[in-house]
Amino acid sequence: MNSQVEMRSVYAETLVELGQEDERIVLLEADLMRAHSTQCFRERFPERSINVGVAEANMVGIASGLSATGKKPFATTFACFAARRAYDQFFVSANYSRLNVNLVGTTPGITAELNGGTHMALEDVSLMRAIPHLVVFEPSDPVCLRRLVRRAASHEGCTYMRLHLGPTDELYDPTEDFEFGESKVLHSGRDVALIATGVVMVREALEAAELLSSRGLSATVVDMHTIKPIDRNRIIEVAASCGAIVTCENHQIVGGLGSAVAEVLGEEMPTPMARVGVNGEFGEVGPVNYLRERFGVTAAAICERAQEVVERKGR
């Protein structure tokens, strides 16, 4: 399972398949069709492909109106624009109106790379978590992506998906199924649980588990693909079995996965924990490998924080 496939192609292909099965599926783009490789949907279903140009707020409003007529829109743009620019539109026209709009935010966090800090959505999960009833998720591999896009299409209510666009390997068997709110355990251990989300950080967590193993510590790795509704049971389960937790996100440590996990632990099972993510800084330009080091979202950083929380156990 180590051949690479472009997540953007998987997204586009899945939409085409869905479009063939269900004529209610509609794609909306804001002049980023070429970035998302969704031209294949337009070629197949030109009437159901709506490009609004550089007008994200309008796009989300149109998606809401389409939903009001029974359509199932997927509105796609960079995560920074989806979450920040069109937030009120998504909040009022889509979510508050109880419609079924699927908003897709691409190039999340540091994967915005050479587009730089203005385009680096490091707070989108934080914004989206606060919207009542919204499902917020971030697929970690092509299998997960295919399944969860399908779940989004049949979900009653709005969804927000962070979509990594670039090439990635498969972590899961192609027959693996996924449900919103049901995380996956990719590796089992006893000493610490690494709870991660997204293409970049799930892989960093897996690498961190190997580093920890070479230091005599065994780590559980959880793919928390759905940040909302968060898998409370899994968090409690790994808190009980490991006694220490490190969260790993391509996002500010405020308001996203780390905060969501801390909320559960604080209420249900206080457990030593640490949050790995961007710590209160704006994004900046650079290739992903540079940015991982720059913002400390690496396997080495996860490993170090894991060792710290393990030491705090039992104090």
């Binding site: 509609v26 009437e47 159901r48 709506i50 609004v52 140009g53 007008a55 707020a57 309008n58 796009m59 989300v60 409003g61 149109i62 998606a63 809401s64 109106g65 389409l66 939903s67 009001a68 007529t69 029974g70 359509k71 829109p73 009120d88 539109q89 009022v92 026209s93 508050y96 109106s97 109880r98």
Partner: protein, 281 residues
Amino acid sequence: MLDEDARSSLIAKSAQIRAMTLDAIGFLGVGHVGGCLSLVEVLTLLYYRHMHVDPKDPCLRTRDRLVLSKGHAGPTLYSILADRGYFPKEWLHTLNKGGTSLPSHCDCNLTPGIDMTTGSLGQGLSCGIGIALGNRLDGLDSLVYVILGDGECNEGQVWEAAQAAAHYRLNHLIAFTDYNNLQIDGYTHEIMSIEDITAKWVSFGWFVQRCNGHDFQQMDLAVKRAKNERVRPSMIVLDTIKGKGVASAEGQVTSHYMKLDYDSALQAIAQCSGGATDANE
């Protein structure tokens, strides 16, 4: 051309709707008096003469829809919906009370007959476009009406939507601008001028008309022409008076959101029975 019976009937109905709106706001004691009253005639025209709707089937797929993008004018629309039988008239006295089905700003999940939730200005036209596109995908001839405020046209999203509607040749989309010259902080030309509003919509590729927003004859003709338009979305700019029908509110900045106790509302109702007629003489 409206015949005399039809015109008189609309005038009488608009007087009734104006009274019901004042009654609802007055019973609460406060509300968006100005912007509610400026829309009485156009909403009356649409719901009693033009729109294909069924109060017994508010979710009828083939219905014409209306997006009240200036959602704070909800009370006027509620009066019409109540009168048309979407819900009991008694609901009008629950306006903005805790647990109500009639909030200030239109909510499609709370109120039968409301087609879209609005209230955050600038969003409704985009939603109307989405509805029109959805109808087109389903091969329907249904019309989509959108009502904008003039102050609302400050919002950039309105112009994103204006571009898109023309680009997608949404000739089943008919929008109105309630051009009552006032926004919360003052006259529109003082706060943020939207002139030349008519030329703006023309340059965005719309079929644009302008008329007196309290004159049924003029408005009816404009709507008929809009319905006959085969290519472009339509914009009908309505010259209106904010607070129309209540002497103390007409043209007043403070009428956007003002206290109105029930006694004053009843007095205003008694005085404004002729409020709709002067434009129609």
